[in-house]
Symmetry: D3
Subunit: 292 residues, 6 copies
């Protein structure tokens, strides 16, 4: 169960309106790595979790906070839009290039659809999609995805920090950056703990018994490009993170022939060079077709 309290975790007051910036903030509200994504991602991971206790508690504990971050951003966005010139025509003002630029740079649906409000979309107006989230039931895979999501999110908020000099907006973003800092740390720590407790390990999923037959394929860096520095990294020589030895293969070995083309049932009418197809199909269907 979720409960709502009519408070914000942190102040969300801009000093002045800025409709263009409101659009940009939508990215971290409703974008691929926005707050809706992490709130939903951690929630679904918790609901699909197969271990009770601390890991699931962690997922629930952060998920609920992230819904509150959605709320902070929605509040901030509505305020950035509140007094901004967002398209309402008044006399000569529409010829003002500044106003025109605002209308050009803002999310026009914020005005037309939401009446100067926030929406569950990204900074290009793409609606938030359930396909953004990751929840596989494998916690090491998922915690790594969570760490990655917090990194992408923190990069985006850091960029957004430099796209405004409004002290109210910057203050809220600085706070959010620190929460992203914390969440990055937590997912890294939680991934390490899973490994320490032997619940999961590299390569993920670690319980899958690796076949002897293709163990070589699991340690070769086969370079399908021609970069001359490809073999210099620690991913090409030396020890793998889980204790085997990398092997560098500068040129892909020959493959196997493509093999025969497929020849599906002729009634799919794919183009083929088999003779007599007309006759074969015709024989099958003409009775039904030609009766009329």
């Amino acid at each position: 169960m979720f409960f709502h309290r009519q408070e914000l975790q942190h102040e969300a007051k801009p000093e002045k309106p800025d409709a263009i910036y409101a659009r940009k903030l939508q990215e971290v509200l409703g974008g691929q790595y926005g707050e809706i994504t992490v709130a939903m991602q951690y929630s679904f991971q918790a609901w699909n979790c197969h271990i009770p206790g601390k890991y699931r508690d962690l997922l629930f504990g952060i998920a609920a906070e992230e819904f509150g971050h959605v709320e902070m951003l929605a509040t901030m966005i509505a305020r950035l839009l509140e007094k901004a010139p967002i398209g309402i025509t008044e006399g000569a003002i529409q010829d003002d290039p500044t106003v025109a630029a605002v209308v050009g740079g803002m999310d026009v649906q914020a005005a037309i659809v939401a009446g100067a409000g926030a929406r569950p979309v990204d900074s290009n107006g793409n609606p938030w999609s359930g396909s953004y989230i990751t929840a596989s039931g494998n916690l090491l895979a998922d915690f790594t995805a969570n760490a990655a999501a917090e990194m992408q999110g923190r990069v985006q908020v850091a960029r957004l920090y430099h796209m405004t000099d409004d002290p109210g907006v910057r203050d809220m973003l600085a706070f959010m950056i620190e929460r992203d800092t914390m969440h990055q740390r937590q997912w890294e720590a939680a991934a390490a703990e899973l490994r320490a407790e032997q619940l999961e390990n590299l390569p993920v999923p670690s319980k899958f018994p690796r076949p002897k037959k293709y163990l070589d394929a699991g340690r070769q860096y086969i370079n399908f490009s021609d970069g001359e520095h490809a073999g210099e990294g620690s991913w090409a020589r030396g020890t793998t993170p889980d204790g085997e030895q990398f092997v560098y293969v500068p040129q892909p070995p020959p493959g196997v022939p493509l093999g025969d083309v497929t020849r599906p049932d002729e009634r799919f009418y794919g183009t083929t060079d088999e003779p007599n197809l007309v006759e074969k199909v015709a024989g099958t269907v003409k009775d039904a077709l030609h009766r009329g």
Copy 2:
């Protein structure tokens, strides 16, 4: 530039047709974490890379291999469909529950749209989307996302391994699982190398100067749920992965009031309790409207 050679990296021959399994394999061809995703993700990371040399070589080198994995899967899927009963009606056979189950379980568009061929979609027929990829220009954030993608991909292929007992399919999957093993290892190694070379560090982006004001917010695990084990993990006490100290906050501290509602321009016709709105708007627009 990309070049194609009419060979497969590994054999892709099923022992027998299986249209339902063909549909399932679409997940790792055209799904969120399928081969199209990683091929495109690594390509865009390479094209947006800001350092020449080994890291970009690595991206190009694996990207091109992944396009070849798309090809292996597409070939396998077409072969699984080739002789399968995929909906063509022939006399009494359509009353056979086995055939009906095949048609129920397969991707019907594989027959109707592709004529028994592979498609750039996932196992539910959702078309592959550019929103699946991650390419931020920040390599630690991106390599972490790559490691996460390979983990999810390997989990999915491992599951698919258990969903068939066709030796030809299993052989190809076993090979692909090992390539995913290798790629997991590489992204983990590359992420470690970035940190060792001080090009990037935790928290990502590490070059953003953290504000003193909210440093506490960057180390507190504030639990917004009520799980009693939330504070037991290494993410709640002890040292953070980058050397600070975690602090556990079992109950969120009070927030700030929601504050005033917004009151946008009345011509957005949002509902408000301001009096005299009718008169204000009417004064503005009646001339234009009432002329007729």
Copy 3:
């Protein structure tokens, strides 16, 4: 701020596994009118609300409950999947038509992607989309949309009730149907209260001053089809809901001519019958192009 408590509002325990039914339940979790939709819709309406007090309280109060309904459904779905035969191959069992039918009828991504878990998608696997919600800032328009959403949702849950005879599932659905009953009632009551308090009225938005010129167009039922009963309803004769008189127009009056086609700049290369286009364009671009 949102808080989570590790409890469910109502029991969510099926008597037995049923992977096909799990897929169907996804509709009311992540479909157009599922619980994610209403939770998000009421939340955004609250965040964009321009009146403090009871209406906003109502929005927040129900929104948070709906997030808990998402949780109940996610829990139920994971349990329906837990012990179901969802595609893992074991010996002869894969030839069993019942198992084949299960695999045919289930959401295969529930197995491949989520490892037997719930996902933010509908019963066809379409990911939840931010475009499902409605939050315009006009409360009468929005509360009417909310009532409509609860009606569609209740219709769907009622249909789902008849698609299972599992007593555990039916018990949860019966509870949810009653909550939908309540929410329908509330939005109808709230819409009536808005009108009683003269905050908004029909036609929505009621503050827009209607032009005299086209008042007739606002009361005519112009029938663009040829149904002979079209004029019999209360929508064609008698008093409109807001006190004017309907007028039935059985045949659309003549329109206006389509008018001239557009002739955009020739450098868009639209096909046109204007002569000399080649010369005009050539004159403009040849210098740049032909230098080589």
Copy 4:
């Protein structure tokens, strides 16, 4: 069958070009509540209608008109784009901030893709989606959705009215606003008629026999937020729209425990704390895998 006559229902001539406004108008052509939506929504409701006669006539009658509204908007948009500076470079003009603002604010695909034409997209360029429509077969649920759609549409057109002072555009919008007025009235009247004729009633679907067990859940306003005014509305006390009594519950009662986590088949490789998983899985798959 549908027939087309080369006339417009109303004049669609702007006084001057305005590419930015053309983009905004796309919202009511191809957006969530644009004319394509209502034309398709009423058509599918008619095709899925289970009662012949006046209700279906009404649906067909308005649906066909709405296709004509799509046409009016498409015509207007093409004309707004016809002579506008939409990105073609000519000498110094590209440094003109006004031109730059136009290009910034317009839908660039209108130029690049459509050659200065209208497109089936919204004002942010999202393509129209079949997921926008509602057609359940339950007429009271659907007519309520129709009334809601006309309200949202009228709000949007009213907003758009204030975003231009072009008399030609305003004239067309004023006409469309009145048609939306009429359609709102009709769906309200039709919903009332369904109830008067006892074909359907509240709560929708009214034929579902409500279980005694949870009747209380059908009349309680359980407040999951902390708004102090939540209990003041007519939705919390007094009579429900269908004659029962509302009950206000200021604090949600305790729920039920979350219950056991799920433990799906180990071959999904979800993370779990069950011991010996490696051995169990290994036993199952090693033969197949390790043969090589």
Copy 5:
């Protein structure tokens, strides 16, 4: 303006219900190349047409017919669903593998969402999308796209013909196949007429003045794969369709170096090997950040 007549162009009565087939038919109603696509595509081409007269008449004339085809399919689909076992549970029947297969193979949203009705989606339940249509304003490009669409559509309907033996369904499909035959012919004829009238020619757009500099690039077949038969076709040697000479280039010539990587503003926090980045950024932002 569009007008509706309550008739179907052709009979749409199945002999018996078939929910699985209803799902398949959705492909040609709401799929990429279904009837909604062609109806919308021809309509938008007509609305964006820059020549009055016969070409635009042709577009309007076929567009309106295609809306009627949508209607025929929607009617047929609803009838195929009407008496089919589509998921309602009745006693033991749910254990019947035939019923289970039906539920597995049908579009479950047809039952849950539409109450046994048609929907604007394809055979996998993907909603119809405005991105399916093509309307560029260049008539030769568009008529070629139309011919291609009719070909794909006819291929799909022909496949669907073989997926049923219901005489009522086959009769309607046979009629539709002939209409697709006609429409293919018309777009081919119309494309030829455009060329005969010199309104447009190959290469499209023919009015673009081809630069001398790269004329060779316009006639070379550069083979980026290694197929040994690539040079045998008429696309590699001999005369091009517009009178030049093809040249076969069996191996791509060397390209140009990739060139320098980009080095965007450091405040995007892309990873780079430039020294002193921390200091540069810090100097810029520390004042704002460190005040607290």
Copy 6:
């Protein structure tokens, strides 16, 4: 298998940055008819091809080149963004209308998400979709679609040519236009060769045996609009492209009655005028429901 060489097929260096133009170029990278589309379309056609040899070689040969075009565009876009003012705030500069216009006209996600890089999206930020491609297995249908795609692509690039005067950009576009010229020619030639070799013919699919019953429907232009010039074209009179005679039908003949409405199972709760529905449903479900 695909191989990558770290070269570009053609130079991709702009003379100066231009973020607005970068956004426009995204259309031909990641749009409906961009280079990702043709690269993927030709690849899937090759993988689903049913004839070995020259046709498949052609598909592979061009597909791989198109992946290289994606690379050229991605490189160009990153360079156009590299030094452009894309939203980073520095002192007074944000009040400069030119900068504001840039931010208004650019793809803001290029900055926030990609850190000044290219993305797999179109010029409105819609992610590339697998639904853009066509690969039916019928080569004449597919090659016609390919010709159409190259035409649309060439039209778009030609338009883009006129939207910049940057000599570096224009040079690359001029080269790409010629490659599109070549590819148009090839698909036209390949389609002609298929017909010359009798592998496929008009109408597509030519192997489907046309029923005598509806041959008339296959040659009639039935005009569903009222354009007076509709019958003047070669599509209405004279010989069809495959040797029959067109017939012009200026008015659609009468259709057939719509027929009975459907009456699905009452437990779908569709609205119907059948009496006693309540009783029927109640009898079925009350036991289960009313036990409590």
